[in-house]
């Protein structure tokens, strides 16, 4: 697979007539290359047209004051305006609060994966069951939790039955965020459990056997063998979840709170939508999108570097 990339430098049409065999390609080989290129072409056109070009276009839009029809170049104006806006600070802080879900997801996933690893009766069924929320749309999950926590919903019915007073969960910032975090954990831990489980399965079982022979109990083995061995996977899962809280909350917010009350549950990805499609400030929306993209890209680079470092251990 690596050879053609080098050979392609010598590819141009001159390959036809005169001698110098080694750098030139046999006709059938050239034909193969053309067929290969033709087969990849539709995909390349679509990816450039609908992904690479739009990203470049987004950067250009972010340098303009625009409602989509009239473009007025203002350089970095949108960026400076956004960065000075107290609303953005508040929204960024909200995103940071949502990071509470990350340790919760990790702990839940760790417990479940360690227990599943014991391969108790029916563990395969549990594995599928835990995965169920991952095949559901965030819109479905969001609405489900909105139903469960609505004023006259089952959670409040249970609270009343236990002698408490019903809570209007979506009327204040704290309780709304709490409900969304519960939804996030509910929907997220199953997938992370499976990633951790695959990490556990790659530990050499002989280590456990040796430890057992040496008289190490279950808790000791968990603390001294299992957990240290999946450190890397836990770090990976943590970063995946951090990225997730910056890009994947839109569906939840959209159906559960619409960013409210006020802007109390508006996150960065929801703010992009509000700026661009509710108030027609597409330039500012694009600028925010570009900044979020840079943030995610930066986090991903840190993740990659981090993993190269841990793999060297």
């Amino acid at each position: 697979m690596t050879a053609p990339a080098v050979a392609s430098l010598a590819a141009p049409a001159s390959a036809g007539a005169a001698g110098g065999r080694p750098p030139k390609l046999a006709p059938w080989r050239r034909r193969e290359r053309m067929i290969g290129l033709a087969a990849v072409a539709p995909a390349i056109v679509l990816v450039i047209g609908f992904m690479i070009y739009p990203v470049c276009y987004a950067v250009w839009i972010s340098f303009n004051k625009t409602n989509g029809l009239n473009f007025d170049f203002i350089g970095l104006g949108n960026y400076t305006k956004l960065l000075a806006d107290p609303l953005l600070h508040k929204v960024f802080l909200t995103n940071i609060i949502f990071l509470i879900s990350v340790p919760l997801v990790i702990v839940a996933a760790l417990v479940c994966s360690v227990l599943l690893y014991e391969r108790i009766r029916g563990w395969k069924l549990f594995r599928v069951l835990f995965f169920v929320p991952n095949v559901l749309s965030t819109a479905v999950i969001g609405l489900m939790f909105k139903s469960l926590f609505s004023y006259r919903g089952p959670v409040n019915a249970a609270i009343v039955a236990a002698g408490g007073t019903p809570i209007d969960f979506f009327s204040s910032a704290g309780t709304s965020i709490a409900v969304i975090i519960v939804a996030l954990v509910w929907s997220g831990f199953g997938y992370q459990t499976l990633i951790l489980l695959s990490g556990l399965s790659s530990i050499n079982p002989e280590i456990f056997e040796a430890a057992t022979v040496d008289g190490a109990g279950w808790w000791k083995r968990l603390w001294y063998i299992t957990l240290p061995n999946i450190r890397g996977v836990v770090a990976l899962v943590s970063i995946l979840n951090v990225l997730y809280t910056f890009t994947a909350l839109f569906g939840f917010i959209f159906v559960m709170t619409a960013g409210g009350p006020g802007y109390d549950t508006t996150t960065l990805d929801y703010l992009i939508y509000t700026l661009a499609f509710s108030s027609s400030r597409l330039g500012e929306g694009s600028a925010l999108a570009v900044m979020v993209f840079l943030l995610i890209g930066g986090l991903t680079l840190i993740q990659l570097r981090f993993f190269r470092a841990t793999e060297d251990d």
Partner: protein, 280 residues
Amino acid sequence: MSTTTSSTLPRRARVPIFIVLCLVGLSIAYPIIYLAFTAFRTRADYLANPFGIPSELTLSNFVTVWNNYGLGRAILNSVIVVGFGLVIQLLVAGLAGFALAKYPVPGAKYISATLVSVMLIPAQVLIIPIYLLLSRIGLVGSLPGLILVYVATGLPFAIFFLTVTYRALDTSVLEAARVDGAGFWRTFLNVASPMAIPGLATLLVLQFIAMWNELLFAYILLPNDQLRLLTPALAQIGGRFTNDQPFVAVGLILTALPPLVLLSFAAKYVMSGLGASLGR
């Protein structure tokens, strides 16, 4: 394999583990089962005791939602978009994946590296420029526009996945077919693809779930009610009729059902595709 560590655990210790797993499983299953029941209850019955066991079951919620909120139309739209999207994507990604795996494509390394890095682009970055570009060529508010967007945004992962799938095929079988005079298409369609069916099926299931559940593009690029897809239609039912919980539950169940059915029948494929989609 099946007894890596449990053999070291006494039988007594396994009972609490089983109970914890059952409780977690219940917390996953309960909300879904609860809503499935709610969908079949009358509103009065629900309000009298939302937590309790329904006194009677009725189909009237389904009839009302179907007739009044255009859910039938939305399901049809979703099926059209997802159906065309999957077929086109599988064809385009299959061609590219097969060529990258088995043909000397010039610059293959750079193409693969670009595809992997493009996977990182979040939808929020794409939605504004794509909305403007599509509205300029008159494709906002038309199903083909959304189909193209779904095909394109799913392509990087699909090509990555299928390149791995086709690369695992035995090259000598493909060589034999070529010696017998089979051209690119014949080799691709009649020899390589039948051998790659498990991989193709896994991809199909994963991409079906992704397209069926997508909210942002579907909501923004199809603004008119006539062309609403199911997931955004559901999101709107939820926004407008929150005090009619049984209606919302009907929408939830109808939207959640296809992926759930798929998971229960194709759990093996979904789970095996998981490892590969880790990079997303």
